[in-house]
């Protein structure tokens, strides 16, 4: 027994010592996590105040855990362990206790009214008619934007532009498909419609036509109503319709929910990632063309590229084996007029790039970066096949990236700015570049985020 005790102590302290020694290998500490798509915590700067209030020590704590050399292997192991907790083939990950705000009902017929801000009637909407559903009372949804100091990743075989990830809120995982859970935020939706879109319309009244395209996410389009109700998410069609109803009549407010819903059996959303596919973006593009009065190009007209092996943000968040075993394929359609673009990074440095870049050599989580140079503050493309001087500016988040390639063949110039990182103002850009059309192309999570919609206000600040 004595020997057993000695051996036991020796084994325990040896294992402890080895793990401690691994932690001391400072050169082996990673700086970024590929699977999480983020830069890991850096060692905190020492200050006397930080020492006094404990923030320095807290920073060391976080740094040590975040950059421990075996961390990724540990996390993988921990997720394998969690698979033993029960039947997790269908589950809600990252919370799910939230509830969204009640969506005010909107009438679209003559004399229709909305109980929106001030109780005034809403503007004309280019979208479909609304279900008159109301949801249980509220709580705000998750914030979907990333801080501008998010990590950078290589975009593919070439040295790609800096990319920035997004944070997932609660996720509904059903078999090999995950869905982001959507919670309506009335304040944010009203801010987007009235203070962002309407304000842009007012500032650009005689200069550009303003469009708004709120992109629904997969949970709203793919899941049936009963499932949506049972997991406590809000109806995205109603949410979009409500936001659109608050917009100025001269804004062309699209609701592509119905169009996407009509194709819900097709591959219009990724299963392992929160984005839509290029096919989903294409269907929305046909709606945009309808609103603009242009003829959409047929999908077959574009050169199609395929990038298989995509494990997106839902996989990073859930580490679900079912997703890992069934990765997505990113299909991309190369514009006919040009595949060249230029992006400017945060420093303003311009780099020539590709509207559809080759990501076949990219890591499994980076395949969506093939679109439009991804989330750069400012980008543009010149289509030499069109010489009428037409120009469009897209105010977008990462959902816009898959949409922009389809616009290239309709304008001589397409500019796109990411509202999270662009430092200038929209009116200045529109005037400077002679933009004809301004399109807000944002996913519904961003119009349900106080932080995101507040950030958008910066684009319209007086100069």
């Amino acid at each position: 027994m004595k020997n057993v005790n000695r051996i036991k102590n020796a084994v325990f302290f040896t294992v402890l010592g080895v793990l401690a020694a691994v932690g001391l290998l400072w050169f082996a500490r990673p700086e970024a996590s590929e699977i999480e798509k983020r830069r890991l915590t850096t060692f905190p700067q020492f200050t006397a105040a930080g020492l006094l209030d404990g923030s320095f020590a807290g920073g060391v704590d976080k740094w040590y855990a975040d950059t421990y050399p075996l961390r990724e292997a540990f996390i993988t192991g921990a997720n394998r362990l969690k698979a033993l907790y029960g039947d997790r083939s269908v589950q809600i990950v990252n919370g799910g206790a939230n509830r969204g705000d009640e969506i005010p009902t909107v009438s679209t017929g003559p004399g229709g009214e909305t109980d929106g801000p001030g109780g005034e009637s809403g503007g004309e909407s280019a979208g479909s008619s609304l279900p008159q559903e109301s949801e249980p009372p509220v709580k705000t949804g998750p914030v979907e934007t990333e801080p501008p100091d998010a990590p950078t990743e290589s975009g593919g075989r070439d040295e790609g532009p800096a990319q920035e990830g997004e944070i997932n809120g609660p996720i509904f995982l059903a078999g090999d498909t995950a869905y982001g859970m959507y919670y309506f935020n009335r304040d944010a939706a009203e801010r987007y419609a009235t203070q962002v879109v309407n304000r842009a319309c007012e500032l650009l009244r005689d200069e550009a036509q303003v469009y708004s395209l709120i992109v629904p996410t997969s949970s709203g389009v793919i899941l049936n109503k009963a499932t949506q109700e049972s997991i406590g998410v809000n109806d995205q069609d109603s949410a979009i319709e409500y936001a659109n109803s608050l917009m100025d009549p001269s804004v062309r407010a699209l609701n592509v929910f119905g169009t996407l819903n009509a194709h819900d059996g097709e591959y219009i959303y990724f299963r392992t990632d929160h984005h839509w596919t290029a096919l989903g973006a294409y269907y929305a593009y046909t709606d945009f063309c309808g609103a603009k009065g242009a003829a959409p190009h047929a999908l077959e007209d574009f050169e199609k590229r395929e990038y298989p092996g995509f494990l997106g943000s839902f996989y990073s968040s859930t580490m679900a084996k079912a997703l890992e075993n069934n990765p997505d394929t990113v299909d991309a359609y190369v514009p006919m007029g040009t595949n060249s673009m230029v992006y400017a990074d945060k420093t303003g440095k311009e780099t020539a790039w590709f509207i559809i870049s080759d990501v076949s050599g990219a890591f499994s989580g980076g395949k969506y970066y093939c679109f439009s140079g991804s989330d750069q503050p400012y980008s543009y493309a010149h289509n030499p096949q069109i010489t009428d001087g037409s120009a469009c500016c897209v105010v977008k988040d990462s959902f816009g990236n898959a949409f922009i390639p389809f616009l290239i063949d309709h304008y001589e110039y397409v500019y796109w700015i990411d509202f999270r990182y662009y430092g200038g103002t929209l009116p200045a850009l529109v005037r400077d570049k002679g933009v004809d059309d301004v399109l807000f192309c944002l996913n519904i999570e961003n119009i349900s985020s106080d932080r995101a919609t507040t950030l958008m206000l910066r684009l319209l600040e007086e100069e």
Partner: protein
């Protein structure tokens, strides 16, 4: 730094154990422990360390003074010591609560200051009070060396979350102690089991508890009853596994360093009465209130009326000790009522009720108690209590509750089993069986040798990525 952080487990602890093992004399070991303890404590904030040093200095000085006085003067010195210690505790813990309530009643003051509670102040204040009271009673001699009293108070294993160790229990070991391989072996097992309870089970149960408890009042009102009961169950498991894990780790590290700390839990969830529950839950706190509040107030020696008053005082204080919020006071009163009913109304009739019925009643009472404990917002608490009994207009079950149960049934089962003596009994049975044959002995020895290291690795895996991972009792 918390016990369940990678920095503590994989850097602080091995470094301290290595240096400690290299120290030859007890004095050197004590200096090592004191340095480590002050570093551990200061990690949260140097300001907190100043408060700790102040409390210990006051207590050390006044208890030394006590030796020169007798009778009323001695009592006055004790009263002064207790008053200073409680004043420090109240200033940090209850000022905000009092001002907040004053503001609600009178509008004054305009702004309620946000006072940060020094780490573990509730625990070490009670340790110092028990020490001063024991010196006053002549149970222990006043410590002559300030740094030894500081070591007793700041020992990093138990300073911030207990057990509330009495000076008399460790005084001898502070001066002379030995560490045997058998003792270290027990400590290693205890520490590893505690770490696994916290890192693997408690943290996972917390996620299930949050699944239906984490929203605001409006979200809570929309949750199905089954989800709320599931969260209540998971929270009850979490709070025991979390807190008892802390004690396990403290006791385990104590054993590795030659200390025998007070046991703090003895499977309270298998109790068949509320009285029994409190006999086995947070034992060191119950003992403190019994010996330093209830009995000095007269206990049950001055008639039923006085006894009820004494119990009321004890349970109000117990509630307040757990937190400066009305729900903790309500929580204390809840137990006061249950205990009074048990002691004075049911009496011996309780013993005639079948054990299973009593167990079900106690389990129900405990689930409700943790719901009260969880929600500081009384509106949210009421919403949840109504929701648990289907009074919020929701269906009893729902997809979300169904998914949470299906996805966590094995976790909840193992966690529930970890709250009972089943593992201890199983291990004992295996050990007994192993005596029969050499092969079985070897198999058991392999298990005994491997399990702490294995639990350590799995716990480290579970902890990875938890950059924010506080204990529930951390700020108490």
């Amino acid at each position: 730094m918390v016990f369940s952080s990678l920095l503590f487990v994989l850097l602080f602890l091995p470094a301290v154990m290595l240096i400690y093992s290299l120290c030859r004399s007890v004095k050197a070991k004590n200096i090592c422990l004191l340095t480590a303890s002050l570093l551990f404590y200061s990690w949260a904030s140097l300001r907190f360390t100043a408060i700790l040093l102040f409390d210990v200095a006051v207590c050390w000085f006044l208890t030394r003074m006590m030796e020169f006085y007798q009778g009323r003067s001695r009592k006055a010195v004790l009263a002064l010591c207790v008053a200073v210690l409680l004043a420090a505790l109240c200033a940090f813990k209850y000022t905000g609560f009092l001002l907040d309530n004053l503001q609600r009643l009178t509008g004054f003051p305009k702004a309620v200051p946000d006072i940060v509670l020094p780490l573990g102040i509730s625990f070490y204040t009670f340790q110092l009070i028990s020490y001063a009271a024991d010196v006053y009673r002549g149970k222990v001699r006043a410590e002559r060396r300030f740094w030894m009293l500081l070591l007793y108070t700041s020992l990093f294993f138990q300073c911030v979350a207990g057990p509330i160790v009495r000076y008399g229990d460790v005084a001898a070991e502070l001066r002379e102690r030995t560490v045997t391989p058998a003792q270290t072996s027990r400590g290693v097992s205890r520490f590893a089991v505690g770490l696994a309870k916290k890192a693997i089970l408690a943290n996972s149960c917390a996620a299930v508890a949050d699944a239906f408890f984490a929203g605001d009042a409006a979200a809570l009102a929309a949750q199905p009853a089954m989800g709320l009961w599931l969260s209540a169950f998971a929270y009850a498991l979490q709070i025991y596994l979390d807190f008892s894990a802390y004690s396990d780790m403290a006791i385990g590290m104590g054993l590795m360093c030659g200390f025998h700390l007070t046991e703090n839990f003895n499977y309270p969830y298998v109790s068949t009465s509320v009285t029994e529950f409190w006999r086995y839950w947070h034992i060191s706190l119950s003992r403190f209130f019994r010996d330093y509040v209830y009995i000095p107030l007269g206990g049950n020696r001055r008639g039923k009326g006085r006894q009820i008053l004494n119990l009321l005082a004890v349970w109000l204080l117990t509630g307040l000790w757990h937190g400066a919020s009305w729900n903790y006071i309500l929580w204390g009163l809840y137990f006061f009522v249950l205990l009074v009913v048990e002691k004075m109304v049911l009496g011996r009739f309780l013993e005639k009720i079948p054990g299973l019925v009593r167990y079900v009643f106690v389990a129900f009472a405990i689930l409700i108690c943790w719901v009260i404990f969880r929600f500081e917002d009384l509106g949210a608490l009421w919403t949840v209590l109504k929701g648990m009994f289907c009074q919020n207009g929701n269906a009893f079950a729902g997809l979300t509750a169904d998914l949470a149960l299906r996805g966590n049934w094995a976790l909840l089962l193992v966690s529930a089993a970890a709250c009972t003596p089943v593992w201890t009994n199983l291990r004992q049975a295996l050990r007994d069986k192993a005596r029969g044959s050499a092969l079985a002995r070897t198999a058991y020895a392999v298990f005994d040798v491997a399990h702490p290291a294995l639990l350590l690795v799995i716990s480290a895996m579970a902890l990875a990525g938890n950059s924010y991972n506080p204990f529930i009792y951390w700020t108490f």
